[in-house]
């Protein structure tokens, strides 16, 4: 145990898994020793990575078996190539067969353009596998707070998950800022305006409009606690959720990964992703507030009471999953969003319309204060995702 706070944003895929699951419980499938590298990067004279930028396997979380995947955002921007995608597809198919919940740590710019066609189909296969697992009652929890964000097809996969847990750094979008600017002009989107990027695509905005369910600080232990709570819910999201105490459960996590610490965005022709934002963002905003508990309750009433979540797995093993009712509710939720906010020019207009008195203060708000604010004003996606 340690009280040292570990940044989720800075951590690598393997460090994230180590921070998430019970110590020593992780068993990797088709690991790096298998050398199942991309068969396509060599065409571009680009170096492969032994795990193709994703780590998948089984583990326990508080003793409960789960399946877990983590993308490595530093390799090719975490982009989906053939092998990378196939590993996640296989994991999700096993989840359906086993009835076992899945946690996915996203960190991706989208499709890996050097193998774009393979990556595109892989994303379609993954989305199908997520939906089929959810229909069977499996929970698929997405964690988003990495360097590469969650862009392109990664954003679409995230949109298929049961629950999304984000930090401020967790940008979710289809088209990345640079790609919008390149295609539509700087008047449409100035990708160098970082504040604009964050308030349009960042974790706070996504939480406020219901695009993400749980907001946490940039802290591996906070992600772990939120994932644990999400998994304790029934497969269909509950309309009321409780907050949960934060337990600083950093164990053997060790920073072998980034010696240089610098955000080594791939600026050479290794630049990975089609639709993603390939710029590396410097973390300043969501900063360090001492690792306080910032997981937020999504019940409309907004009390973060620190009560532990009551697991609602019923004894019969019956776990209602994604169905027509869920999607009908999501349809209504997304229609309502356009009706309410469709004319908004900027995120701050939406936040104001939600009832937030001083929307301009939101970007600089520390995570705890934001969590309290969001719990009161945000659009909830409960039962509608």
């Amino acid at each position: 145990m340690s009280d040292i706070r570990q940044s989720w944003y800075e951590a690598g895929a393997r460090e994230r898994i180590a921070a998430l699951v019970d110590s020593g419980s992780f068993a990797e499938f088709v690991g790096p020793e298998r050398r199942e590298t991309s068969p396509h990067l060599g065409i571009f004279d680009l170096p492969a990575q032994f795990d193709d930028g994703i780590v998948v396997g089984s583990a326990t979380l508080d003793g409960t078996p789960i399946l877990v995947a983590a993308q490595e955002g530093r390799f090719m921007g975490g982009a989906f190539g053939e092998v990378h995608g196939a590993k996640l597809t296989g994991l999700l198919r096993a989840a359906k067969a086993l009835g076992r919940d899945v946690v996915i740590a996203f960190d991706t710019g989208g499709v890996r353009l050097q193998e774009a066609n393979a990556g595109e189909i892989a994303i379609a296969e993954i989305m199908r596998a997520v939906v089929e697992a959810r229909i069977a009652g499996v929970r698929v929890v997405g964690l988003i707070g990495g360097r590469a964000g969650c862009y392109g097809g990664g954003g679409l996969i995230a949109g298929c998950c049961s629950t999304l847990i984000v930090s401020e750094q967790g940008r979710i979008s289809v088209t990345g800022p640079e790609v919008i600017e390149t295609n539509m002009g700087v008047e449409e989107f100035d990708s160098r305006d970082r504040a604009l990027v964050w308030r349009t695509m960042g974790g706070k905005h996504r939480t406020l409009i219901g695009g993400a369910d749980v907001f946490v600080d940039d802290d591996a232990a906070a992600f772990r606690d939120a994932a644990r709570a999400a998994l304790a819910q029934s497969a269909r999201p509950l309309s009321v959720r409780s907050a949960y105490p934060h337990s600083f459960a950093l164990s053997e996590v060790e920073g072998l990964g980034s010696i240089d610490g610098a955000s080594t965005s791939l600026s050479t022709n290794g630049g990975g992703s089609i639709d993603g934002a390939s710029t590396s963002l410097s973390t300043n905003g969501g900063g360090s507030i001492g690792g306080a508990s910032t997981s937020l309750s999504t019940n409309g009433g907004g009390s973060i009471d620190g009560a532990s979540t009551a697991p609602s797995t019923n004894g019969s093993g019956e776990r209602p999953g994604l169905d027509l009712d869920t999607l009908a509710a999501e349809q209504a939720r997304l229609e309502r969003r356009i009706a309410r906010f469709g004319d908004a020019a900027d995120a701050t207009d939406i936040w104001q319309a939600l009832g937030i008195d001083d929307p301009k203060a939101v970007p600089d708000m520390p995570a705890t204060a934001f969590a309290t604010l969001a719990a009161q004003y945000r659009e909830s996606a409960d039962d509608a995702r």
């Binding site: 790096p32 170096p47 990575q49 390799f75 010696i259």
Partner: protein, 105 residues
């Protein structure tokens, strides 16, 4: 890609019982090092795959220095290189050996 092979005498065998260790990632200026056991305890085999062509002499020096200073006997090391500087390579190799010698969880 340029593939380089080294197989050199390494008098000090690596300790520990872990079967493998992986450190680093393939990114600009970075590299990944996969360390595994071989059945020749007095040799260290290193295979490097790099997009930066023409640096064999530099790799030769880094590898010789590594094997001279670390307990690298009986190791089989595979490297995917994203154009790392020699000091980064040395650091990763040292991390890799340290990790494979760690007690098993």
């Amino acid at each position: 890609m340029e593939i380089l092979h080294f197989d050199i005498a390494a008098p000090t065998p690596a300790g520990g019982t872990r079967a493998m260790a992986l450190v680093g990632v393939v990114a600009s200026g970075n590299l990944e090092v996969l360390v595994e056991r071989s059945d020749t305890p007095d040799r260290c085999a290193i295979e490097i795959s790099t997009a930066a062509h023409g640096f064999r002499d530099l790799w030769d020096a880094v590898v010789a220095d590594f094997v001279g200073r670390r307990a690298a006997g009986g190791l089989r090391i595979a490297i995917n290189d994203g154009g790392a500087r020699p000091d980064t390579v040395s650091l990763r190799l040292a991390q890799g050996v340290r990790m494979i010698e760690e007690p098993e969880a």
